[in-house]
């Protein structure tokens, strides 16, 4: 793997769990309550009152640094993850996540054996698709969800999701995209934490992308502009860069001849390459010989990878993903500088992000999108993969994500899914989220390994109803609810907080009570 790490920066994260994390861990029985002081906020920032950006910062979420990191760098808290981050400390945990090959993930690998498409060659996938009811794309979508749910390489999954969305190839598509699993492994995952330069070139030679955006049928004498345009607008410099229609045309010309061989691998066909001078913004090429067409195209892509507009465009998207819907210009500038300084190295770029003040003070500024909510729900509840065939259970979960409008890899437009809250806040999605919470607390998705709901609080040995509620909210969201919201749950149980917790009286309500905790802002926000 390519690494272009910037020199190590002074650690801004401590190794000890904060008091809050300690409480959360105590509730899970993972660790005795820690007395260590706070980590990421050491830089003189008051996470609650401090407001360096002058924007609205109020949130009900616990500002604890460990919980914050978990909400952003993973698909949601699980007991195992909280234990892991706390034991290692945020910085060492992050180091490890940035080098996912150092993390044993054999459990999820074993699970993925149920999806043979993932281990198939492009040619095999083309054959496999013929007449199959379940396509390679379907397998990849289910496998992607499985990894988000249960992989220990959580940051890799988040970045895989980020790049898959950036280079969106709507999956499952028709036969043309049967090779998407190859792209997922050899392009997206391989380079997700490498360099953007490598990622962009690999993507531009990936049959799934070449077919999805039609470059495979673009010819010098009759070009297809689809890929050439989206390459500029979506994959690299962005529309703000101010390129012209003539630039779009030459962008398409530069990559004519880049196509797909009959065995579904990349093939450059000189006869299909346009020859003649090319100019796209500040890039130009004489492009006199068709035989040099691959070199010209690769040169063009490298130029785009290091264009300052690309650095800004990608940095805006990264900040939007990890920090807030409207990141500051300062943060975007800092990230763009880091991106260019590290020669498009993604690890160094992510370190800059996680070390930024703006990241540290952005607690609760993101809203979980529907897929993130669904995945985080399974993780919070500690629901495990099926012991037997995982295919039907995952198909059920994929269907639920599709009904919420956000199946993995499923965005219809080349733009990918929006990474801001507004498009995902609707009456329809609100009801959909709530119904999924209820389905999972009532064990309605068949085959999954469900925990005993009463067991979620058992480690804290709650004596009163109030303690039960605190134990559950801490286990599921990492924190105790604000008193008025806590009182809502007490009233839902039609009792008083000081009343003795008698399992026989309360446990029948646990599926609904726990669903409500997952409906709440403490789970919705991240």
């Amino acid at each position: 793997m390519h690494e272009n790490e910037a020199p190590a920066q002074p650690p801004s994260g401590g190794q000890l769990p904060s008091a809050r994390t300690g409480r959360a861990l105590a509730a899970t029985g993972a660790l005795a309550v820690g007395s260590g002081a706070v980590a990421l906020y050491a830089a003189g920032l008051d996470p609650i009152g401090g407001n360096p950006l002058g924007t609205e910062r109020a949130t009900v979420l616990d500002p604890d640094a460990t919980l914050h990191l978990i909400r952003r760098a993973s698909f949601g808290m699980s007991t195992a993850l909280l234990t892991d981050v706390t034991e290692k400390g945020p910085r060492r945990w992050l180091d490890e996540q940035l080098h996912p090959d150092r993390i044993d993930d054999s459990d999820v690998d074993a699970l993925l054996a149920a999806y043979p498409a993932l281990a198939s060659s492009a040619a095999q996938l083309q054959q496999k698709y013929a007449g199959a009811r379940r396509t390679p794309g379907d397998e990849l979508v289910a496998a992607t969800l499985a990894r988000q749910l249960w992989s220990r390489r959580q940051l890799l999954e988040v970045m895989t999701d980020f790049w898959s969305n950036h280079f969106n190839v709507t999956t499952p598509g028709g036969p043309a995209y049967a090779t998407k699993p190859v792209e997922d492994a050899a392009v997206i995952r391989r380079h997700a934490l490498g360099t953007f330069e490598d990622l962009l070139l690999a993507d531009a030679t990936s049959p799934a992308m070449l077919l999805h955006l039609d470059n495979a049928s673009s010819r010098g004498d009759d070009p297809n502009e689809n890929y050439g345009r989206e390459l500029l607008e979506l994959h690299t410099v962005g529309i703000e860069a101010g390129y012209t229609e003539a630039d779009v045309r030459d962008s398409a010309y530069a990559l004519t001849g880049w196509g797909v061989a009959p065995d579904s691998t990349f093939l450059f066909t000189p006869e299909a390459h346009y020859t003649g001078p090319l100019r796209v913004m500040s890039w130009s090429a004489a492009n006199a010989e068709a035989a040099d067409g691959f070199k010209v195209g690769a040169d063009y892509l490298r130029h785009l990878a290091y264009h300052p507009a690309t650095a800004r465009h990608l940095s805006t998207k990264l900040a939007r993903r990890f920090v807030s819907d409207e990141p500051s210009t300062e943060l975007v500038d800092t990230l763009a500088e880091s991106y260019l300084a590290a020669s498009s190295g993604i690890i160094a770029w992510l370190r800059t992000l996680f070390d930024s003040r703006e990241f540290a003070t952005s607690v609760g500024q993101k809203v979980r999108r529907p897929l993130e909510d669904l995945v985080a729900t399974v993780r919070a509840l500690g629901i495990g993969p099926p012991v037997d065939d995982p295919v039907p259970s995952l198909a059920d979960l994929v269907r639920r994500s599709r009904d919420l409008g956000q199946a993995p890899l499923g965005a219809a437009a080349p733009t990918g899914y929006a990474d801001v809250a507004a498009p995902w806040l609707s009456s329809s999605i609100a009801l959909g989220r709530w119904n999924d919470h209820r389905a999972l607390t009532a064990e309605r998705v068949p085959g999954l390994a469900y925990p005993e709901l009463a067991g979620l609080a058992a480690d804290s040995e709650p004596q009163t109803v109030g303690e039960l509620i605190d134990a559950l909210t801490t286990r599921l969201t990492g924190q105790v609810f604000r008193s008025d919201h806590r009182q809502v749950l007490v009233e839902f149980l039609d009792t008083d907080e000081d009343r003795l917790y008698v399992a026989a009286q309360v446990d029948g309500d646990l599926p609904d009570l726990i669903a409500l905790i997952l409906d709440s802002p403490y789970h919705l926000l991240r």
Binding site: A58, D222, P423, S426, S428, I429, A430, W434, N435, A439
Partner: protein, 430 residues
């Protein structure tokens, strides 16, 4: 009080509480709208006119309150030149040698145009004067060949990027208060055209507006968990619970289209069937939006017999036809308009498809439409008439939408709906 009286009182209290909650919801939207105004929103004169007044505004004949506008957005860039074919133009088949639709299979419209045979289901509405067309529709330089940028422009309906509200939301604002179901998006989320107050409802059909184990105790707790939270998510919780409560009565009667009508299978068919259901239920629907994807046909659009374009047009035409027939007399109150972010290049590309282009066609279906006519200017396909290989958008989409909004929503001035645009009606409404 006897039991019956007590039940009545309870019901009355419930209705009052619902109304109060809705008022609160709308007034909070109003607060946030002031925030939007700070962010560049225009037409703030009507502030405060949004408070809801009636639970359901039952359609009173002749008052126009039962009128609705249904906006069907064809995502990806609709090929108006494939749907409404300039058959008489000698340059047409020259530009599209492999995917052009030959004159002999077209259904006759006027001397210039013919209808793609896959849209045959709609031809009867043309002859009966309920289907009108505007061709060569564009939106000025702000509507580029970028999906994202063009959609953003035509759904907000303004040139200024700082205006964050959608054109339909501003049209509704100009129309005044309404019911919970005043504006409905058939789908998981809201389109940008309805961005603004956060009072528009998204649903995937009335039948799916349910909450498992959703007792009153449960919904009370749900509200409580978001109380005191100054966040847009909290507004959606209120809205979802209000919709849930009000959809109960609607769901009770399964929807059956009129005899002989069956909507094509798939999302678009069920969405339009649900719109018909809402219209007939008289719940105060004024605006509905429906999305249909799949139009970005850069490759393999043909052949005419069974190609991708034919497949998509068949679904579009048959669904709109089913909707028109299903509504029957109520089609007098309802207008459907199709729109897209941009049209396609006149010349086909090397992949048997077309790239992103300019001027496009809009279809208008409804009893109040000046049907049987292709409205507006038509520049033709001669090389010198084209701009960058595109049909120039000589008819501004805002003129079409403004005229429909006036007719369907009873708006006087459309200045606040399309600020900065000087409205010139094309005469698409009778």
């Amino acid at each position: 009080m006897n039991l019956a009286e007590r039940a009545l009182v309870t019901a009355a209290e419930r209705v009052a509480a619902d109304a109060e909650r809705r008022t609160e919801l709308w007034s909070r939207g109003f607060t946030r709208r002031r925030f939007l105004a700070g962010a560049g929103m225009v037409g703030a004169a009507a502030l405060g006119s949004q408070l809801v007044t009636t639970r359901y505004s039952y359609a009173a004949p002749g008052t126009g309150t039962g009128r609705a506008l249904v906006v069907v957005f064809l995502r990806g860039g609709f090929d108006g030149l494939a749907a409404v074919v300039p058959a008489g133009d000698p340059d047409y088949l020259t530009a599209r040698p492999s995917i052009g639709v030959p004159a002999e299979v077209l259904l006759p419209l006027d001397r210039r145009f013919g209808l793609h045979p896959a849209l045959g289901g709609l031809h009867g509405f043309w002859t009966s004067g309920q289907l009108g067309i505007v061709h060569a529709v564009g939106g000025g330089p702000g509507v580029t060949r970028s999906h994202f940028q063009a959609m953003d422009h035509v759904e907000r309906g303004v040139d200024t990027p700082s205006t964050r509200t959608g054109w339909l939301e501003r049209a509704l604002e100009a129309a005044g208060p309404g019911t919970t179901f005043r504006s409905v998006s058939e789908g998981t989320s809201l389109p940008s055209s309805l961005a603004g107050l956060g009072t528009a409802v998204a649903l995937r059909g009335v039948d799916l507006v349910t909450l498992n184990r959703g007792s009153e105790r449960m919904t009370t707790a749900l509200r409580g968990l978001f109380s005191g939270l100054d966040h847009v998510a909290a507004d959606q919780v209120d809205l979802a619970l209000t919709v849930l409560s009000e959809a109960q009565a609607l769901r009770a009667t399964p929807y059956v289209p009129v005899k002989g009508v069956s909507y094509p299978a798939g999302n678009f068919g069920s969405a339009m069937s649900d719109v018909a259901r809402l219209v007939k239920a008289d719940v105060g629907l004024r605006v509905a939006t429906v999305d249909v994807g799949g139009w970005d046909l850069h490759s393999n659009a043909g052949p005419i017999e069974d190609g991708d374009m034919t497949y998509h047009l068949t679904g579009l035409g048959n669904t709109l036809a089913a909707f028109g027939t299903d509504l029957g007399e109520r089609l007098a109150d309802v207008t459907v308009v199709t729109m897209s972010e941009f049209g396609r290049r006149v010349a086909e590309n090397g992949s048997g498809g077309t790239d992103h282009g300019g001027g496009n066609a809009m279809l208008l279906l409804g009893g109040r439409v000046a049907g049987g006519l292709v409205h507006g200017g038509w520049p033709g396909l001669a090389t010198e008439a084209l701009v960058d290989g595109d049909v120039p958008g000589v008819n501004d989409y805002r003129n079409v939408l403004a005229e429909l909004a006036r007719a369907q929503l009873g708006i006087g001035s459309v200045a606040s709906v399309f600020p900065g645009h000087s409205y010139v009606p094309l005469g698409v409404v009778r």
